[in-house]
Amino acid sequence: MSFLRRRVFTTNHRQLAILYLLLGLAAVITGTLLSLLIRLHRTWPALALPFYGVLKPEDYLALVTMHGTLMVFFVLTIVPQSAFPNLVLPAQIGATRMAFPRLNAVAFWIALASFLTLLSAFFVPEGAPISGWTSYPPFSALSAAGPGQGAGMDLWLVAITLFCLAAVAGSVNFLVTILTLRCQGMSFRRLPLTVWSWLVSSGLTVIAFSALLAAAAMLLADRHLGTSFFLPSGEVLNGIVQRPGSGSPMLWLHLFWFFGHPEVYISILPGMGLASSLLANFTRRSVPAYGLMVASTLLIGVLGLGVWGHHMFVSGMNPYAGTAFGLTTIAIAVPSSAEVLTWLAMLFRGRLQVTTPLLFTMGFVSFFISGGLTGPILAQPALDAYLHNTFFVVAHFHLVMAMAGVFSVFAGIYYWYPLLTGRRMNEMLGQIHFWISLVAAYGTFFPMHLAGLAGEPRHYAQLSGPVAHFANLIPVERGITWSAFLLAAAQIVFLINLFWSARHGSHVDGNPWRATTLEWSPIVHPIVRSGAYVYGPNTAPGQDFLPQWSTNEPTVRSS
């Protein structure tokens, strides 16, 4: 009983962080296996899987749907926005606990229930849903529309509903913690940029996931209560006209993408904050324009609520609305570029300490730039008219969201590992992990730009067979598949390192990276007298940084 209370039903935020990380690990392993099956099928469509047989096109779509859902929600939202804040947020603001520990714990258990519900969709008679992680109606609103769209789709919707509740509960906790539990002297101007990013992401979560919750409720009503919020009139399925009709699928697109776009900023903003922090730490420089970085974070959050139409340029939306959304999307490139230029400035003049966390942070910056540069391309309605639903889009979001997001997660794990275990992860294995992952990730996703420019559409189960327009891209697909397998294999190095170092890693002292932020503080209730990134030669006697828990006043003016 006490084991249950201590380890399982804990309200300690550090232990909840570990539980969230384990949930993220389970999700990413499942999602990666699904992606490898996707790659296998695309390259060798006639391949018969052991115990299953040849994948039918609907099975392929189920793979794509579940891969997207698992990765976007349970890896890229859970880990940067739920696991990492639980790990270090209270410490970074000088608090000892969260504002609402029990709400925090409840959020995890609802997230776990959501995950299990989603996985159960694989085991119902017709299998997992096939309407994509975006689940556009009318396809997703009609149970008879395809295999997996019955029970599988319902389970998917229930899982999403539960996830929305978990996300909002967790974010309310983070918001109140950041606003009210800062220790003495921790003004807003002295907050680490990670905390700023969690503040903005939590605000976005409350707004965006509440919208998704309502949309999911309306879709469930369409499916089971005979409404037709999203079902158009005259919809014919299997020769039967669907009544009552007279709804609008466009409404779902607007509502979903009103959630969907802030969702990607929720995923990436914590990574951006972490990149700023780690670059400061490992270049031994302060963040050059701290106020600008904070303003950029806030701007990205606020502007991110106004760009959702760029997912809908070719949906039949009013073209003038398309122009408006194109403009707001280009506008959001401004604060993002400001952040990137600041990172590059730190790298150019810094005294780099090449450690694994720094390497993964630089990888994050690399993917953010390369994936981000195709964003303004896709933001032009005229260009998107061609590129929409091609592999160009797949390349864009995998580079900027999946790879950059995952690299920032790795950076965080390698960085905070000593905090959890008192040991460092093995540096050699870490560098091997980094370099192979970097090369393999570019090898996997860069060629997709070219395939997309050649016009290769998304969601095709195979490129050969009856439709042979893109058969000449099959060698490209093969190369991508080999890269993908290499990328997946490189993660085994990481897992070995993770579990081996817990027992055999080299011991380190309390502040192995000589960082300034408070999670490394030996004092439990510090009084903060300096900014978050005071690095430099004259900051403190005998060392090149002034930690935030120091009792000395800062002598140089920096943040």
């Binding site: 000088g94 504002a99 609402f100 709400l103 909002v168 974010s171 309310v172 906790n173 918001l175 109140v176 606003l179 009210t180 539990l181 800062r182 220790c183 003495q184 002297g185 921790m186 003004s187 101007r189 409350v206 707004i207 996931f209 509440s210 919208a211 919750l213 309502a214 949309a215 409720a217 309306m218 009503a221 209560l225 005979g226 409404t227 037709s228 919020f229 009139s233 005259g234 009552p244 009709g245 007279s246 709804g247 609008s248 466009m250 409404l251 607007h254 509502l255 009103f258 009084i527 007298r529 300096s530 006043e553 800062p554 003016r557």
Partner: protein
Amino acid sequence: MPATFTRHQVETERRDTGYGGKPPVDRRPTGGGGGDENWDSRPSGRRGPREQLIRFRLAMFSGLAGDFVFFAVLVSAFFVRPSSGHISPADTFISDWHPMHAPPILWINTAILLLSTLTMETARRQLFHEIDIMEEWLGLGRPAVRRAAPWLIATIVLGMLFLAGQWIAWKQLGLEGFFFSSNPNSHFFFLVTGTHAFHLFLGLGVLVFALIAMFRFRKVEMRQIALDCAAWYWHAMGLFWVFLFVLIVFFQ
């Protein structure tokens, strides 16, 4: 100084003087300090009952902001009603959104809910009445609770009357042939009023919890926090209803 809440605005954090630049200079002729100087300004990082209340209020505000977005999204279905229709065999667009007239009982329900907002706020203020709270804190009985409880019970009764009235309204519409599945307008109407009624039903649960808490919780600040959170939730539900009511009655 008892750990009570006051109705005055207090600073939760001293203004940060920062570093660099001139040090802060106190220009007051007597130099400040002493007597009841700054008796209500509190150092940053303070963790008292007022700060606890502020935390709970912030949490309620954030949760209610999310709930507001939730209702706004449901209402968005109302704003695409011009597009809900079908093409007739004669190739003309026929709208399926049949406007409905709101049953008159909805006006009475609205009045009841607004009255319950007033009784709720009265209950909340009674529980924050400073003299009574000081007596409770000192252990001299529960005068504040005894003042607030009747108003809270009145709110619960009014809430139940509202839900009963909503039920009657649905029944009346059903007798006219306007069911949930009749047309897109009915889908919308029953979904939003049903969701609102469900939230209000949960709100009744919260109110009953607050009522029990007022007699069972042993810390005076937690009693106040329980009632305060319940009150803000109730006010929000009342506000949402006003929006929905105006939409349904005046914007068909």
